[in-house]
Amino acid sequence: MYTEKVMDHFMNPRNVGEIENPSGVGEVGNAKCGDIMRIYLEVEDNIIKDIKFKTFGCGAAIATSSMATEMVKGKTIEEALQLTNKAVAEALGGLPPAKMHCSNLAADALHKAIEDYKNKQKQKEQEQNK
């Protein structure tokens, strides 16, 4: 039921793990389904230098996490914000209809991590301005 691409990213996930002192962290979860995805960012000069994820969920959830992190690594924050759930699913060669809901986790977690990064930046600026 999964494409070869999905199975590849599931069996050999890219960018699994955590980042110490990350520039931003985003976590999303479908409380009812119980799936959780967490994305860590390391940003330097507005560029995603490193990105890591941890995911509790099905094969599709793990594969979309892996693909999403791969797609934005090395990109600017603005570019990363353009990433959609649909684009991640397409890059994986499609997902089974029943799995579309968990594929929504990846881009959402990424956007949350970026939001967290931006908030932290703002705080820093405010502190510097004081």
Binding site: P13, V16, C33, M37, T55, F56, C58, G59, I62, C102
Partner: protein, 402 residues
């Protein structure tokens, strides 16, 4: 790569003796059992032999066995048939929350038709409380329907005790024995069973075959109308190859039951003990000892069942899970939830059901592969590390206390 099939509760391969017999009934003995000529008479003989073989396995009379298209149809026929034939007496049915959907959804369909159904809750090990059952019985209760062995967690339910209660109260008792038929001893008289569902493909016969045992004198309405086959209770030209296959498989299962149960119980216990010993944060689901030989169900915390199944599959191991992610819905197995298992733990459930082809080497292979897979998935899980930390904190706290 080694291939290990551990999903015998889902279905089984057809055993060679049965394949041979089916072949004969597909090609040589292909007649319609209702025909007068020799072709028909031979086919009829095959069907009646199968009826005797199946009746013998549950200590019933051959004329009390009615062939159906499987366990699902037998369950429907038992429940709807009893409801329709007895509704002037009452409209209350008792069942449990852990039944197969063939029973649950059939009962729910009757609610729409004005029946009332009590879905009994279960204990954490999927056993039931007999006092609660007794107190649920009303004057208008016409049917108790309960499974013998739960398909997801393997717990054996106290059918004999329930049969006694039903008999005392004059209530029709239906047992879904799809998972126990041919594997555990069943005596419909000793257990006071009025109706019993069984299925062929769980005992090395064909998919799409099964039967309903109907105790002589039990009032039941047919679901289908048509010819006079199965004494009008289940019309339609008989699935002769499927029926003879079911009969032979039942006969062989009866002969091998004791030895096979002993063998599978040993392998099952080895698998359970090995998993509990090798993998931390694992719990067994269902009763520890009062469970089907060959049935293992564990919850592996901090990981999700579908990804576990995929990884096992890549290693040639076929299993199943009650995770929401495998169900196509947002909820994990209704059985695990009814047992009070929290969502996230139900998510990590893994069912491995052993059968005729399972060897000790298979069990050893699983015990070698599974811990590695669990470790890999846990290293990806956002729940695992934080839990580890929490545990450590707790531990340091309690040593401080000491």
């Amino acid at each position: 790569m080694r291939r290990v099939y551990l999903d015998h509760s889902a279905t089984t391969p057809v055993r060679p003796e049965v394949v041979q017999l089916v072949n004969k009934y597909l090609t040589e003995t292909f007649g319609n059992p209702s025909s007068v000529h020799a072709f028909g008479r031979e086919a009829r003989k095959g069907v009646e032999t199968a009826r005797e073989q199946i009746a013998a396995l549950i200590k019933a009379k051959p004329e009390e066995i009615f062939f159906t298209s499987g366990g699902t149809e037998a369950d429907n026929m038992a429940i709807v048939g009893t409801a329709m034939a007895n509704q002037t007496k009452g409209k209350h049915i008792i069942t449990t929350q852990i039944e197969h959907h063939a029973v649950l959804d059939t009962c729910k369909s009757l609610i729409k038709q004005g029946f009332e159904v009590t879905f009994l809750p279960v204990n954490p090990d999927a056993t039931i409380d007999l006092e609660l059952l007794k107190s649920s019985i009303r004057d208008d209760t016409i049917l108790i329907t309960m499974m013998h062995v739960n398909n997801e967690v393997g717990t054996i339910l106290p059918i004999k005790e329930v049969g006694q209660i039903a008999k005392e109260k004059g209530i029709i008792f239906h047992v879904d024995a799809v998972q126990s038929f041919g594997k555990l001893p069943i005596d419909v008289n000793e257990m006071n069973i009025d109706l019993l569902s069984a299925s062929g493909h769980k005992i090395y016969a064909l998919k799409g075959t099964g039967c309903l045992y109907i105790r002589k004198g039990t009032k039941i309405a047919p679901l289908f109308f048509g010819g006079s086959q199965e004494r009008k209770r289940r019309p339609g030209t008989e699935n002769v190859p499927g029926i003879v296959a079911f009969g032979l498989a039942a006969h062989l299962a009866g002969q091998e039951m004791e030895a096979e149960a002993e063998r599978l119980t040993k392998l099952r216990d080895k698998l359970i003990d090995g998993i509990l010993e090798k993998i931390p944060n694992v719990q067994l689901n269902g009763h520890r000892t009062n469970r089907l030989p060959g049935h293992v169900n564990v919850s592996i915390r901090y990981i999700e069942g579908e990804s576990l199944l995929l990884m096992l599959d890549m290693k040639g191991i076929a299993a199943s899970s009650g995770s929401a992610c495998t169900s196509g819905s947002l909820d994990p197995s209704h059985v695990l939830l009814a047992m009070g298992i929290p969502h996230e733990i139900a998510h990590g459930s893994l069912r491995m059901t052993l059968g005729k082809g399972t060897t000790e080497e298979d069990v050893d292979y699983v015990l070698e592969v599974l811990p590695e897979i669990v470790e890999k998935l846990r290293s990806m899980s956002p729940l695992y590390n934080s839990m580890k930390l929490e545990n450590n904190e707790e531990c340091s706290k309690c040593t401080q206390k000491r």
